[in-house]
Symmetry: C2
Subunit: 452 residues, 2 copies
């Protein structure tokens, strides 16, 4: 009997995690990865640092090269090969490479086709306009910055990628304006936390405009670009970066009959299997299960991609793994400020049908007699059950990892009455004796009138 | 009907937490705190920083003064008043202040008499010998250091207080030797973590001697002290600090019939009530419930004292609060190194009857393309159930707060299969894309042969 063949479409976090896991579990399995770009397995989350120059070379972001996977892991990585069609009836993928096309049979298929920039702005293809979602885009932006020395930068989108790019441009001494469609930066950020983000950006000379929708971009061939905002004003810039979030790249699967969820991303079960037999999906092209809302959510992040990829790879190789879901944890750095969130914000909890109580506290990153930095924490608790629903933090020290404590508590479905007694570590250099998270929990308990 | 009176014996973390909570819940209650020393409510965990001078003045460690409690919270704080006897039959405490004694009636009593240095070494009362367990002791040590300018320091005990004091002495340019009774520093530290601690101390010129029992100390009135180690060698030093851990100050309660646990500390139920009616206990004089072993444990720490004090105060005031227990979390700073532990070490898990699997991993505090610091994590998992039993970390960045993630997971009784899927935050400045904790969990899962 010939070896079974696993074909994986997309060679970044989810794809290569899946490939590696499948190969390790079943050394007989032939594993082919189709990657239309030049790179596989690189640190997508470090792209802004490549733009700023903090990461000097693109190779620094590459975790493993295609050659490493080929020779050391026995995975047939094909860069520059694009899957153009899936034929589930024939268990076959149509592949294009350069001018050539070929058909590739599969026994198992994993879709890890990732996400694409969400913008569809007229003029987005202009020569001054860039994205920072993949290595090719980030490199093009960096070359433009280094060769053309633009003075004025516009970043369209104030999510975490937009802010990381804004910081990168600022570090290259551009004047930077962030255009955010909604009324606040960092999607779903609490007002108490967003306030600190706004202040930090202003301190570093980054302008932010809110409720600013970009309707079109006009690029002169050599001159600056003109960005039409909200159909009213024209802003002029030397470089424009589109960073208004990701949409799932799901159309290849959808055309073949793979079911999508309400988010437009591929729907899978907790084994990462799609509605079609032998076809799995993982990473930024898929929906996940949100453990707090108990519903689907589209949260495209590298950590989730890795975990889902591993599960998809294991199952495609004949194993039986499950991915239980996520709580929507995100941490990012805004200049010196650590900012993080997990679970539901007060507003999103209300939108999800909870009756949330939000409690924000101001504290410090060290005991008061040491020179700690201000730290702000907000917890969101369900008034009915006392269950923790989410939390956010900001501060120059100690914010990012405290978010993980909350993420762990959310996963365990802790109530705030349970949370308040957590045996968290204390030493004066690492926090106040009453940890800000526990203070917030205590305040929440008092407001709920629960006295335990 | 006259107001009920709550008497609290001991005015530090547990005592003042209890007093404040009781007062707030029941403004009619008369609350009297008997504190034999001069200070109440100060940051005991910051004493080593007072010794080093990093904290300039003792007042900097004081959270609230006695006067604040008297005037702002209506709590009758009596410093310089020592409870010498409890008469449960009469509901009465005998008190000594200066030359005077008096009897104080109580309706409810809370014992928060704290812990005392564990050493009973002949010669420990000598003029060169100090402790660092309370503000008076730390101040005496500091004055000696500043006025006498000793050159050679000996620290007896290599627990976290011993190491903090050693660092403080080193920062004052003393030659420092730590004498540790057992084979490793920091009680119950994993060998993989202890190795880093030893290396860090050596790098800063702190000598550590292991298996070194101090049998006696001889102090010349003006000359140096001579410390006899293991009945064999005499070491000479200009200052000796005894830091061999705490024992509970439980004898006052015990003489009155308050039941002690196997650790020698006061046994309470989860409402912090002792075996005697109307008598509660909290803080360093009491035993706690260990959530991992499901048995009693003596873990004297300020955070626990605060929580237990609050519960005792609430119940003494007629409420109904419970303290569920602890997981034994400890974090400390050894020069630049963050060191933390929670739950059971591999050795202590084995001693507690588990069949533990220990997995240590080496990682970094940032994504590999940034300039992160080495980070080491060890997880301990029960082979039979897959349940997490404990974990320890060391590193210059990101170790302390990751211990809290483990503490939260331990409290939630997570298995390693659940833990490995935790949605922990990732951003390149705050960790590698595969968090060290999740890598360790994944390694543990593989070794357990569980593939989910």
């Amino acid at each position: 009997m010939p070896a079974e063949r696993l074909v994986i479409i997309g060679g970044n976090a989810a794809g290569m995690s899946a490939a590696s896991r499948a190969r390790r579990l079943n050394p007989q399995l032939e594993v082919v990865v189709l990657e239309k770009g030049e790179y596989v397995s690189y640190g997508t989350c470090g792209l802004a640092y490549l733009v700023s120059g903090l990461v000097p070379r693109p190779d620094d972001l590459v975790v493993y090269t295609p050659d490493y996977f080929r020779t050391r892991r026995g995975i047939d990585v094909r860069t520059g090969h694009e899957a153009t069609e899936i034929l589930p009836g024939q268990k076959q993928v149509a592949v294009r490479t350069g001018e050539d096309t070929y058909a590739l049979k599969y026994d198992k298929l994993i879709l890890t086709s990732g996400g694409a920039p969400a913008e569809t702005i007229p003029g987005a293809q202009g020569p001054h306009v860039f994205t920072c979602n993949d290595l090719a885009g980030a490199l093009a932006l960096r070359h433009f910055l280094e060769e053309r020395g633009p003075k004025r930068g516009l970043v369209v989108g104030g999510g975490y990628i937009g802010l990381e790019v804004a910081e990168a441009l600022r570090r290259r001494n551009l004047e930077v304006t962030v255009l955010e469609r909604s009324a606040s930066l960092l999607e779903d950020i609490e007002p108490e936390i967003g306030e600190w983000v706004n202040e930090r950006l202003a301190r570093h000379g980054v302008r932010a405009e809110f409720n600013a929708t970009v309707s079109s971009i006009e690029s002169g061939r050599s001159g600056p670009a003109s960005v039409l905002v909200t159909n009213e004003r024209a802003l002029t810039a030397d470089v424009v970066v589109l960073a208004a979030g990701l949409v799932p790249r799901a159309e290849l699967g959808a055309r073949a009959g793979v079911e999508l969820g309400s988010s437009g991303a591929i729907r899978t079960d907790n084994r990462q299997q799609t509605n079609l037999p032998s076809i799995y999906a993982a990473g930024d092209c898929t929906e996940s299960w949100h453990l707090v809302t108990g519903g689907p959510a589209y949260v495209p992040l590298g950590t989730t991609a890795n975990k889902q990829g591993r599960v998809a790879g294991e199952n495609a190789a004949g194993g039986n793994a499950t991915f239980p879901g996520l709580v929507g944890t995100l941490v990012t750095k805004v200049f010196e400020l650590e900012v993080g969130k997990t679970g539901l914000s007060e507003a999103s909890a209300r939108a999800a049908g909870f009756s949330p109580l939000g409690v924000a506290v101001d504290s410090f990153s060290q005991a008061k007699y040491l020179a700690g930095k201000p730290l702000r924490a907000k917890l969101v608790v369900d008034r009915a059950s006392g269950q923790l629903l989410g939390g956010q933090l900001a501060g120059e020290e100690g914010a990012a990892r405290r978010v993980d404590v909350l993420a762990t508590a959310l996963t365990a479905r802790m109530t705030v009455a349970e949370f308040v007694h957590l045996d968290l570590g204390y030493a004066p250099p690492y926090g106040p004796v009453y940890d800000p998270l526990l203070v917030a929990a205590w305040e929440a308990l008092k407001k709920l009138g629960r006295r335990r």
